[in-house]
């Protein structure tokens, strides 16, 4: 009995070994650079999980299909830029230096993306970014694809909503003293001036990591604004609305990061908060609904905008590989020829000369049950 058992194990072992070469087939690699440590790691984690999920789904179907009909496993190579330009440069050089990586995604932070653009450009590798700063696609780089609407798109949507739909005129602007906050502020103030002929009644900034917003809230209330537009990251936004509410502020609070992370932090203070987003899980179209259901099944919570951006990016790369094969040049050349590509987020235009593929955005408002209701959609 015992010997027989042993033999059967042995046979099983050999069979497994024999099948290994097939499984161990050289995978197709795509890179991901995200902020995985330091402030901003929260988004980085969401990005990684969404990209990995998309890759896993591809592999569950046997891997990435090649033009000749064969399939190869897909592998995600993840590097961390810590939201620092010099670390990002090392990280992206590492991705680009690995010749088996056919395309990569990231960085998310504009301050990291911008100084590292030339690395990808020199290597001629397709780069999918979620950074919002305008200038990233203004430098004439041919390898960059932005898979997210820019701040110009959603600041425009938000300004429209606030001025036209809500009829607000006395606007206070607060912003975080970082790339994200400052560029958001610049764009919003410009749009406010150019499109609506308005100037902010008061402008205040704060540092990322500030804990006590009484002074900011106090000055906003003192200046009697009827809407506060806050441009920055979630923790500070949540603290600011809390202090505003504590001091009895009755106006509207608009926030460019009013996503689920913000909601988690702000809790009931988020009621009535308005915000522009590139995408939200309550977006009423069919693709978004389906994505939301699948994501819920897998992660047991709602997806955020970044989940869709990176999910879509992986799939766009996979589709391109299916058409032209896993080489950098071919994918780049092919993508530049694609007019429209349907993703969960909306319609992408990979062939756009600047690389700005998508302009879809929504404006949401948290209702009594803290569900983000879509109050305005832009395609």
């Amino acid at each position: 009995m015992k010997r027989r058992n042993f033999l059967s194990y042995l046979t099983a072992g050999f069979v497994t070994l024999a099948s290994l070469p097939a499984l161990a087939q050289e995978p197709v690699r795509i890179g991901l650079d995200a902020v995985l440590t330091g402030p901003g790691a929260n988004n980085g984690e969401r990005i990684r999980e969404a990209a990995q999920w998309a890759v896993d789904l591809v592999n569950q179907k046997g891997g990435v299909a090649l033009p000749d009909g064969s399939k190869r496993p897909l592998e995600l190579v993840v590097v961390d830029d810590q939201a620092k330009p010099d670390v990002g440069l090392s990280a992206i050089r590492r991705l680009v230096g690995d010749k088996s990586i056919v395309a990569f995604m990231g960085p998310d932070w504009s301050s990291v993306t911008y100084p590292t653009l030339f690395v990808g450009a020199e290597a001629g590798i397709p780069q999918f970014t979620s950074s919002v700063a305008q200038r990233i696609t203004q430098e004439g780089h041919k390898h960059i694809f932005r898979a997210r609407s820019t701040d110009t798109d959603w600041m425009g949507a938000m300004a429209d909503y606030l001025v036209k739909q809500e009829g607000k005129k006395k606007i206070g602007v607060t912003y975080a003293n970082n790339e994200f906050g400052r560029s958001g502020r610049d764009v919003f103030v410009k749009i406010l001036k150019e499109t609506h002929g308005l100037d902010p009644a008061v402008e205040l900034s704060y540092a990322v990591g500030d804990k006590d917003f009484t002074s900011v809230a106090g000055r906003l209330i003192q200046s009697g604004v009827d809407v506060v537009v806050n441009l920055g990251n979630q923790p500070e936004g949540a603290l600011l609305i809390k202090d505003l509410n504590n001091l009895g502020y009755g106006g509207l609070f608009a926030f460019n990061s009013a996503d689920s992370i913000f909601l988690d932090l702000a809790k009931s203070n988020a009621e009535g908060v308005v915000g522009p987003l590139s995408w939200v899980h309550t977006k009423p179209d069919e693709k978004s609904k389906a994505f939301n259901v699948e994501f819920q099944k897998r992660f047991n919570r709602d997806p955020i905008g970044h989940s869709v951006i990176y999910f879509d990016s992986v799939n766009m790369i996979v589709d391109a590989i299916g058409k032209v094969g896993p080489t950098r040049e071919a994918i780049l050349k092919y993508l530049k020829s694609v007019d429209t590509w349907q993703g969960v987020q909306g319609t992408y235009h990979p062939s756009a000369p600047t690389g700005d593929m998508i302009h879809a955005s929504v404006v949401i408002r948290y209702n009594k049950d803290l569900v983000p209701e879509v109050v305005s959609v832009r395609e």
């Binding site: 995985l36 620092k84 330009p85 230096g97 911008y114 100084p115 970082n178």
Partner: protein, 326 residues
């Protein structure tokens, strides 16, 4: 550093030859290692030889980087003028900080320098009309050297390597000079040094100024290498990183500073496959080195030798007998 031993010679040859075969990514790391080695040497001058803790060297690094970058981008100055200006300005800031701050030592100085570094970074963020704030400065040109294309990273590597060699030479001379001896005397015993006729204040401040100037030079080299500057690259953890490089390598040793820069810059890259855990492991390494090798990695050889000698001593039951002087 003593006389050059075969190991040192091998390292120098390796530093010259190996980069030819490195990938762009590895070359980038090597350039950063050299730039950080200059920074670490500059810190070593005041900490290793003078016993003063600074956790604000990123501040000097920032001032040097920005001065050279801004002059180059907005005024069109060549590197050969903007870099000396960067050195001059950091030296001045070292003087302005050093005079009041060097009345303190130890943890007080550590906090003052943290404050200095943070103020420098906050100013670079908020002083938008000068620094362009968070948007940063770009594109910064590589230095122009007739006949040599410094836009090639390999050439730039040799360029910074030569700068490092020059600074090492400078440090050796400086440490051996009367000034270096005065600095060491102050580290050992400030009062005794003063009794020997050393002007403690002037010596300390001079060391601080030289240190700041070197950090400023490293900043200029960095700015013209990386070609884009923004305030994010000059946070407290850069200061801490420089400090770690000095300590881990070996305080008060030139070779130690270079070794420390290499280990501290390259180790996280090597540990990167560990993803989430690499920083944690790095922290453990720091603690372990400090507990077992307080003289840094450079002391490894001498510590092992001393241990062996001690063991032998014990075996021989021989005790050095000198005049009793408790």
């Amino acid at each position: 550093m003593g006389r050059l031993n075969p190991l040192g010679l091998a390292v120098i040859i390796a530093a010259i030859v190996i980069p030819i075969f490195l990938s762009e990514y590895a070359l980038h790391l090597m350039i950063m290692v050299v730039i950080f080695a200059i920074l670490t040497l500059s810190l070593n001058l005041i900490s290793g030889y003078g016993g003063l803790i600074s956790l604000g060297h990123a501040g000097f690094f920032l001032i040097g980087s920005y001065t050279s970058a801004l002059l180059s981008v907005y005024q069109g100055w060549p590197f050969w003028l903007s870099a000396p200006m960067a050195i001059l300005l950091t030296a001045t800031s070292g003087l302005l900080l050093g005079f009041p701050a060097l009345r303190w030592s130890g943890h007080f100085l550590a906090v003052i320098t943290i404050a200095f570094g943070s103020i420098a970074q906050l100013l670079s963020i908020n002083w938008v009309f000068l620094t362009n704030g968070i948007d940063g400065v770009a594109p910064i040109l590589r230095p122009y050297l007739p006949g040599i294309d410094l836009t090639s990273n390999l050439n730039y590597y040799y360029f910074v390597l030569i700068c490092l060699a020059f600074i090492v030479y400078l440090m050796i001379r400086l440490v051996a000079s009367g000034f270096g001896r005065a600095l060491k005397a102050i580290k050992d015993d400030e009062t005794a040094a003063a009794c020997m006729g050393i002007d403690v204040r002037i010596t300390k401040v001079s060391a601080f100024v030289i240190s700041a100037a070197l950090a400023g030079f490293a900043g200029a080299l960095y700015a013209h290498y990386i070609r884009f500057l923004n305030p994010d690259s000059f946070s407290l953890d850069v200061s801490i990183r420089i400090f770690m490089m000095m300590i881990i390598g070996g305080t008060g040793s030139i070779a130690g500073s270079i070794l420390g820069s290499f280990v501290v810059y390259v180790l996280p890259e090597v540990l990167r496959p560990l993803q989430d855990y690499y920083y944690l492991i790095w922290g453990v390494i720091v603690i372990v080195v400090m507990l077992f090798l307080p003289g840094g990695l450079i002391s490894l050889g001498s510590v092992v030798r001393a241990r062996l000698a001690e063991r032998k001593d014990r075996a021989d039951q021989k005790i050095v007998s000198t005049e009793a002087q408790p």
